[in-house]
């Protein structure tokens, strides 16, 4: 019963019984209830909250335990990536964009490199295309691992996180041996990639591929089969297909809602045309489906890594590009499928050596926008489950 209704009930003239609608499960009006007025409480969730995945600040309006309204307040990580990019040479823009979606920087780099290549008409060597696909998939697994590990932690399962970090470290050692960095790679560049696989990278990857299916089983035992976990996520945060499309969502949250849109399939880039893979699609669009879609994508990504290693052609990894990139005036848009969804770069050039405008289409922003819509009606504890299942990265949202 809302406070307005209650106050209405109290001012009914004497003699008439106030019309109180009993909540389900309550047989009689508890004594004193007609003097009670409940207030809505506004709770600030964040910007420091262990489970907001960064510096998200959500204002929750609560009626008791129930969420009446939710509003995300952004900007705690706004550091001007897009603006600063306008003052960097084309080859240095990638280092900034790495730090936008910092968990899967390689996808943003790739989108930028493709947009630059479109403008300049650079032909990328075959081998570089395959390496791009290979590293996209490696980073996809690394990113989904974090998503699932921290999701378990949000919901109260601490152990999966420790297992998941073990596999992530295995992948990071591959990334480090090739790109030289654990997180900020700057590996994909306009015209190709930085360097070929190092001799130790392939054995490390093969070893990983051998053990990964077993590890996936482990996660399924730890999380999927965990009844508490199921109770916390099944049927929570349902986003139906129409809402997901209306909000411009993409990536696993969209596919969990039953719409199998994947940029890798719809507008193939890198070597994805030659690779065989399925796109997992969910049914009901709840947190459980989003979780399962990610688990399935990890399995598929491992297969893709194997295909890339087997089918890797010989050749150069970098096309002949000038030292200072000066694309002709014009604009280009290029999108790739990152672990969070469709990340796109809209690049406008005015013919100089710095871009005129770099716009980042951040999938997390669209995926986050839906919380206003889905959160009301849930219990406050579910808010953590919903935010975690969207797997947002604030660096990309605030830029």
């Amino acid at each position: 019963m809302t406070p307005e209704e209650l106050s209405q009930a109290r001012i009914t003239p004497e003699g008439e019984a106030p019309a109180i609608v009993l909540p389900k499960g309550l047989r009689r009006v508890p004594r004193g209830v007609d003097e009670l007025a409940t207030e809505h409480l506004i709770v600030n969730m964040g910007p420091q909250h262990p489970s907001t995945h960064g510096v998200l600040h959500i204002l929750l309006e609560l009626d008791g335990e129930e969420i009446i309204a939710a509003e995300a307040s952004l900007g705690y990580l706004h550091r001007g990536i897009e603006k600063l990019a306008e003052h960097r040479r084309y080859s240095a823009v990638g280092t900034l964009l790495d730090r936008a979606d910092y968990i899967s920087g390689i996808h943003t780099e790739l989108a930028l490199a493709q947009a630059t290549e479109q403008l300049m008409g650079i032909e990328v060597p075959e081998k570089a295309q395959w390496l791009r696909s290979l590293f996209s998939e490696i980073v996809r697994i690394a990113s989904h691992l974090i998503a699932i590990g921290t999701y378990g932690m949000d919901i109260g399962a601490m152990a999966p996180f420790l297992y998941i970090m073990r596999e992530r470290e295995a992948l990071l050692s591959v990334l480090e041996s090739v790109t030289g960095a654990r997180m900020m790679f700057n590996y994909v560049r306009p015209g190709g990639v930085l360097r070929d696989l190092t001799p130790e990278a392939e054995p490390l990857l093969r070893q990983f591929l051998k053990t990964f299916p077993g590890y996936l089983e482990e996660y399924h035992t730890l999380l999927t089969g965990n009844e508490i976990f199921q109770a916390r996520v099944k049927g929570v945060g349902v986003i139906d297909r129409a809402t997901a499309i209306a909000f411009g969502m993409s990536g696993p949250p969209l596919r969990a809602s039953g719409f199998g849109w994947d940029v890798r399939k719809e507008r193939p880039y890198a070597a994805y045309e030659q690779l065989r893979f399925d796109v997992p699609v969910g049914e009901s669009g709840d947190c459980w489906d989003r979780y399962l879609v990610r688990m399935e994508e990890m399995r598929i990504a491992a297969e893709l890594i194997e295909q890339c290693l087997d089918g890797m052609p010989e050749g150069d990894v970098m096309a002949k590009v000038p030292k200072v990139l000066k694309p002709p005036a014009g604009e280009a848009y290029s999108a790739v499928e990152s672990p969070r969804g469709e990340v796109g770069i809209h690049l406008v050039s005015d013919g100089t050596d710095t871009p005129y405008r770099v716009h980042l289409r951040a999938p997390s922003l669209m995926n986050l926008a839906v919380v206003d819509e889905v959160m009301p009606g849930h219990k406050i504890a579910d808010s953590v489950a919903i935010i975690g299942s969207l797997d947002i990265v604030l660096g990309e949202i605030d830029r």
């Binding site: 420091q48 550091r79 730090r99 073990r166 992530r168």
Partner: protein, 166 residues
């Protein structure tokens, strides 16, 4: 410190209570899990994972500032975040320490030209240890923590020296 192994049975040691407390403090540094940006993935997540495993130094994360001893500022602090950062610092109980992790927290890092970015968290809170890098590797973070442990263990000595020289 396995004191019993070091000293044998039925032994007695004399120390100042403050020194004992400091030794204990240095070996159970609970940090506030407050990841701001990219550095949080390396400094808070990988660090807690099995490869680097900070738990073995007694370094563990807490969700609430009221239970934390150390604040790791892991990321870019901008002007909107600065107030929250200061508030969190004020909520931590004494004695407390701050580690500035990464180029951003030390100086503003790659974003220092942007007017919205705070040029180093030492403008807002006192910093004890600076760990450079973008992002610093978990090993460097580990080294930073060890430096902080040294600093805490030698706190009384430093204080006494300062008093003498004053």
């Amino acid at each position: 410190m396995a004191l019993d192994k070091l000293l044998g049975e039925n032994s007695v040691i004399f120390t100042k209570s403050e020194q004992l407390f400091d030794a204990a403090r240095a070996n159970s540094l609970w940090y506030l899990s407050y990841g701001i940006a990219c550095c949080a993935i390396e400094g808070l997540m990988s660090a807690g994972g099995p490869k680097f495993d900070y738990d073995r130094f007694g370094i563990f994360h807490r969700g609430s500032p009221r239970q934390a001893d150390v604040m790791i500022v892991a990321g870019t602090v901008n002007k909107k975040m600065a107030h929250a950062l200061r508030k969190l610092y004020d909520q931590m109980p004494e004695p407390k320490w701050v580690i500035a992790m990464g180029a951003c927290a030390c100086t503003g890092g790659p974003f220092r030209e942007y007017p919205n970015v705070v040029l180093g968290v030492d403008k807002i809170v006192p910093v004890d240890v600076y760990v450079p890098g973008c992002p610093p590797r978990p090993e460097s973070m580990q080294y930073g923590f060890m430096q902080l442990q040294d600093k805490i263990r030698n706190r009384r000595k430093e204080m006494a020296r300062e008093q003498r020289s004053a």
